[in-house]
């Protein structure tokens, strides 16, 4: 289990959200100064013991205070109003006199930024007076430089994803929080589950899965390089790092070479046993290395055994590899009646996958016979199935391609409308459920129509048009 607390503590991970909507990640080392550039700086110690999500004002250099809710509400209202003014029919001509007047007022008045904005935007925001909008827009831009405030957000699916999309969207395969949460929901992610995951989003998705289950799960991560790229995990805090997760028994990792050649992978990792005598003679460093290698071998052996056992509660695939090349290797390991979820930034990739999955089938029982000697205690029904293994195949049903996204609105009195522009990129999700079909009955008469196996989808690729 992974701990979470609503209170900011030493070494807590925190996302700092600035008035400009920029978002930064920091791990709060004690007695450290965090500089927010033009927004000021603060000492980490002053955040310890405070609640996540609060808004803080840097009211004097390096001094912070929690803003009361009413103050926060006013700021929000102003920010929304200004955002709307920028979006909404405000490309008006603005006289230089008006701009100068505003500048003068702000400078002479010596107003704090937020007060200046409030004063100016609250004045006659009717639709007829568009020039005022443009003024407010101008003030807002200035205002962002004066507002010395920030919010301290707790890492969570939404915040971590927002941060990653802003900073390196291609590293996370442009995965939105909406897609992640939908996959977790469709995948029936629940405490105690055992999941098979291919995650090339820097493990952004894996982090979300672990967050949702509070770490109460077992995950096998299959990855394409020698070591997994799990750089997003640390954004949830140090408990979420790969090392920590492996140590807690939550995470197992396997690369594709280990998946396809378990015996050879084990052989490569094999370390000859040393006698007690030899061990005692070893230098400490050599002994540590020996023990480390022994442990690695044991872990790989255990990971492989667990993987071979199959029967995972769901398979989640977020990979830059062609989905079908992943699925061919992993689908047999998914339990019957369990969901399979595949993410792609492109609908077309999933359309192809959908067509191939429609035809996909796998003889049932073959994977079990590999470790027959391990399954003696199994139920008679299962044994019976194994006896007639050729009569059953694994298939997928309920295949669908999903597009999910959210459409945010401005909600202000007299000025309700959807935001004018939003992020356009989004991914797609393919879902299905694994079942066992009887080969014998598949030919029966009144069975629902199904596409002929191997029906030709001649590609138009090189043919003349």
């Amino acid at each position: 289990m992974l701990e979470t607390s609503p209170i900011i503590q030493e070494n807590s991970p925190v996302f700092i959200k600035l008035p400009s909507e920029n978002i930064r990640f920091v791990t709060l080392k004690p007695n450290n100064t965090i500089s927010l550039g033009k927004f000021g700086s603060f000492c980490t110690d002053d955040l310890f013991g405070k609640t996540y999500d609060e808004t803080f004002e840097i009211y004097e250099p390096k001094k912070i205070r929690v803003l009361k809710t009413r103050e926060v509400q006013i700021l929000e209202e102003e920010k929304k109003t200004n955002k709307e003014l920028m979006d909404c029919r405000s490309n008006q001509l603005m006289s230089q006199d008006e701009i100068d007047e505003l500048r003068k007022q702000m400078k002479e008045g010596g107003l704090r930024g937020e007060e200046a904005i409030r004063q100016l935007t609250s004045k006659s925001l009717t639709f007829e007076q568009k020039t005022q909008y443009a003024q407010a827009k101008y003030v807002n831009r200035k205002g962002e430089k004066y507002l010395q405030q920030f919010r301290a957000l707790r890492p969570c699916l939404e915040t971590v994803t927002e941060y990653m999309l802003a900073h390196d969207q291609y590293k996370i395969m442009e995965l939105t929080a909406d897609c992640s949460t939908y996959m977790l929901t469709l995948g029936n992610a629940q405490p105690g589950g055992r999941y098979l995951v291919v995650d090339e989003t820097g493990c952004l998705f894996l982090g979300s899965l672990l967050e949702r289950l509070g770490g109460d799960c077992k995950v096998t991560l299959v990855h394409p390089n020698e070591q997994p790229n799990s750089s997003c995990l640390e954004l949830w805090g140090k408990e979420y790092t790969e090392e920590s997760l492996v140590e807690k028994g939550i995470l197992r990792t396997l690369n594709w070479l280990q998946v396809i050649g378990p015996e050879e992978a084990l052989k490569d990792m094999h370390v000859d046993d040393c006698t007690e005598e030899e061990l005692n003679e070893m230098k400490l460093r050599h002994r540590k290395r020996y023990e480390g290698r022994k442990a690695s071998y044991a872990r790989l052996q255990s990971n492989l055994e667990d993987f071979e056992r199959g029967n995972f509660d769901a398979l989640f695939v977020l990979s830059n590899h062609t989905p079908m090349s992943v699925l061919n290797l992993l689908l047999p390991k998914v339990g019957s009646s369990r969901p399979v979820l595949v993410y792609s930034p492109y609908q077309q990739v999933l359309v192809d996958t959908h067509h191939e999955l429609f035809k996909w089938s796998n003889p049932f029982g073959v994977t079990e016979t590999n470790n027959e000697n391990k399954t003696e205690e199994e139920s008679p029904e299962k044994q019976e199935l194994q006896e007639t293994q050729n009569a059953w195949v694994e298939k997928l049903i309920m295949l669908d391609i999903h597009e999910i996204r959210t459409r945010p609105y401005q909600i202000l009195p007299e000025r309700t409308h959807p935001f004018m522009s939003i992020r356009g990129d989004m991914g797609y999700i393919l879902s299905g459920i694994k079942v066992l079909s009887s080969v014998g009955t598949m030919a029966a008469g009144r069975f629902p129509k199904r596409q002929k196996q191997g029906a030709g989808s001649k590609k138009k690729g090189n043919t003349r048009v």
Partner: protein, 367 residues
């Protein structure tokens, strides 16, 4: 806990979700001796017991089949009996993201309705979380209570869910025997703004509490937003979930050359016909002339049987039969097709956060 833990085999007494056909799921309580019937035949429960979850079951007469799936909140949402408009999985999943519903979260839900949201919440918050669900409507409450009991959700039977029959707008959320403090609140009520003032007693003292008001109409959202602000909630956001479902399909690749070939065949066909007709006309004319009969016959139905041309235009014939999608005799390309009926709107989702600093405000103002 909700439904049961993952299991491999169907047992007597289990609730299963039976897949009957595309987009057709039914809940099925397995009771030895019972039989399920549909248009493909009879499916005795005795044949299902001991089978694997996910396994295909043939009807007794082998005329058709169903699949037995282990229930999940998502499958239940597709199979459940509708007592009210239900909350669908896309909305549920976005609400989970925004309300930070995770293992251990304590949640208030009002009203229970058809309980599709309740099942998803109970599943995700798990054994260390808690779901307080409220339903005003008496018979819906009773039905939900029975359902929660059957699905092992109630806290009295080792679950995490407490269902209360209550008009929360009038009587609030308090539960006699415990002080109720939650991390998340979901209001699916006709007038959420009436329930909002009651919630202030139940927000976290030491952390944020998040709320979602789920309302179909814009005006409801506007009222709720005002009520939330008045109660000291901040970060008020509103959004709609836009959701589409696509199926992979194939569409034919037909080139202009194909149509040109067909036009040529038609032309050949006609030319042959024309030659034959000319020949026939000549013969008829000779016949007529020999019989001293000048009546024209070309435009009237002709009794002389006309042979089909030697090369029948195969493509034309093909056009007359219905071509099965993906037929190997034709060329196809892969496309995506959306459902012909699109959910354009379910509800607007209004979110807000309550922070401990607001509680300072309140104590200040009462001081």
């Amino acid at each position: 806990m909700v439904f049961s833990k993952y299991k491999e085999f169907v047992e007597d007494g289990d609730l299963v979700v039976a897949w009957i056909g595309r987009n057709k799921l039914l809940p099925l309580k397995i009771e030895d001796g019972q039989t399920f019937h549909n248009q493909y035949g009879a499916f005795p429960h005795s044949e299902m017991i001991g089978k694997r979850y996910g396994q295909q079951i043939s009807s007794s007469a082998k005329q058709g089949f169903i699949y037995l799936l282990q229930p999940t909140p998502e499958l239940w949402t597709l199979a459940l009996p509708h007592r009210t408009q239900i909350v669908y999985t896309p909305d549920i999943s976005i609400i989970f993201e925004k309300l930070r519903i995770v293992h251990g979260t304590r949640v208030i839900e009002a009203g229970t309705g058809s309980a599709s949201m309740s099942h998803a919440l109970s599943r995700t918050v798990g054994p260390s979380g808690k779901l307080y669900s409220y339903e005003y409507h008496a018979s819906r409450y009773e039905t939900a209570l029975q359902e929660f009991r059957d699905h092992n959700m109630l806290d009295e039977v080792n679950g995490n869910t407490r269902l209360t029959h209550r008009d929360v707008c009038k009587d609030g959320f308090e539960i006699a025997e415990s002080s109720l403090e939650v991390d998340a609140i979901f209001l699916d009520l006709p007038a959420p703004w009436e329930a909002i003032p009651h919630l202030i007693k139940h927000v976290n003292r030491n952390g944020s509490t998040r709320i979602c008001c789920f309302s179909p109409c814009m005006e409801q959202i506007q009222r709720s937003a005002t009520a939330l602000q008045a109660s000291g909630w901040c970060d008020i956001e509103m959004l709609e979930v836009s959701y589409k479902q696509w199926a992979a399909r194939k569409t034919r690749v037909i080139r202009v050359d194909d149509s040109i070939e067909r036009l040529k065949e038609v032309k050949r066909h006609r030319t042959e016909g024309f030659e034959r007709r000319k020949e026939r006309q000549r013969l008829e004319k000779e016949l007529a002339e020999s019989a001293e009969n000048g009546e024209e016959t070309t435009d009237s139905p002709i009794s002389v049987p006309s042979e089909p041309p030697s090369k029948a235009p195969a493509t034309t014939e093909r056009n007359h039969k219905r071509i099965r999608e993906g037929d190997e005799d034709y060329e196809w390309t892969d496309v995506a097709r959306i459902d012909s009926n699109l959910k354009n709107h379910t509800s607007y989702l209004l979110f807000a956060v309550h922070l401990p600093s607001q509680l300072d405000n309140e104590s200040e103002s009462t001081e």
